[in-house]
Subunit: 141 residues, 2 copies
Amino acid sequence: VPNDELLHTTVNELMIPADKVAHVQVGNPLEHALLVLVKTGYSAVPVLDAAFKLKGTISKAAIIEQTLGIEQFEFNKLSEMCVNTVMKTEIPILHRDDSFEKALKYVIDNPFVCVADEEGSFDGILTRRAILKQLNRYLHT
Amino acid sequence: VPNDELLHTTVNELMIPADKVAHVQVGNPLEHALLVLVKTGYSAVPVLDAAFKLKGTISKAAIIEQTLGIEQFEFNKLSEMCVNTVMKTEIPILHRDDSFEKALKYVIDNPFVCVADEEGSFDGILTRRAILKQLNRYLHT
Ligand SMILES: Nc1ncnc2c1ncn2[C@@H]1O[C@@H]2COP(=O)(O)O[C@H]3[C@@H](O)[C@H](n4cnc5c(N)ncnc54)O[C@@H]3COP(=O)(O)O[C@H]2[C@H]1O
Ligand SMILES: Nc1ncnc2c1ncn2[C@@H]1O[C@@H]2COP(=O)(O)O[C@H]3[C@@H](O)[C@H](n4cnc5c(N)ncnc54)O[C@@H]3COP(=O)(O)O[C@H]2[C@H]1O
């Protein structure tokens, strides 16, 4: 059954490992977080604490939204606020041994999903691109 | 052959039609474009001209990058520059009757792909989410 191969792929084989993932620290001011996002070119990245535990994700969108004042953008606010007040903490999480099928379900609504172990230590991320490349490979064999 | 159904789906069946796609006009100042992106919540949208022809795409990332000065972010620049100087014009384009397979290839490297007709009139967009939902449907039948 051709589907078997695809369905037996695990998150571990498709994820980007932690050491290759750009991230920000939970205590950083928003201005620093925005700089990291602009320099790495990513629209959103994981947020970790000093012990490398996963705390949430933060996006350019969420940061810019903070600057939306009544009349115009108020960018000075960025140096006054921290990542922890703006980050998203309710995020889906995958484990290394989760199936392709579970990963696919999660990326339908999320450009990327964080991978962590049972202690909450950050392992990496699973991206839509990885799922799409795997699908493309599978359709061409 | 189960793959047949998937491969016979066309862009037309999966795309978001033009009237449901947020966009900006080629002559808008960057400050206006950023406001549209922040209010609609999208990280990037198509750029059209007054005749509804597709001109390119513009992202929050590209706009924010313009504000990156030597020492800090210089947001006043946003009212001084227009969409046409910052938009991406080298973009992949799909046609309504293109195959699922061609669409899949394009979304591997692009979160969304613009759909246009031979005259360059904007028809809609094909998103990664649409491809992933179709894959999920196919794996569950
Ligand atoms: N430096 C680069 N080189 C080549 N292509 C690039 C790129 N930056 C972005 N892209 C392309 O643009 C897509 C959307 O990137 P975005 O930053 O919005 O959204 C990204 C970003 O939020 C996050 N992400 C991906 N790789 C990351 C990394 N190494 N570190 C941190 N976050 C990452 O996962 C989301 C989905 O990534 P995905 O690969 O599916 O999809 C990526 C990829 O196809
Ligand atoms: N208002 C909303 N409601 C529900 N979910 C939302 C949402 N806004 C964003 N998302 C989710 O976040 C993903 C990334 O959105 P993003 O704005 O970065 O990237 C989007 C955006 O740049 C563009 N896009 C999608 N729908 C659009 C629309 N109606 N008008 C203009 N651009 C659109 O296509 C990209 C990929 O979209 P995709 O659907 O694959 O993936 C979307 C979707 O899964």
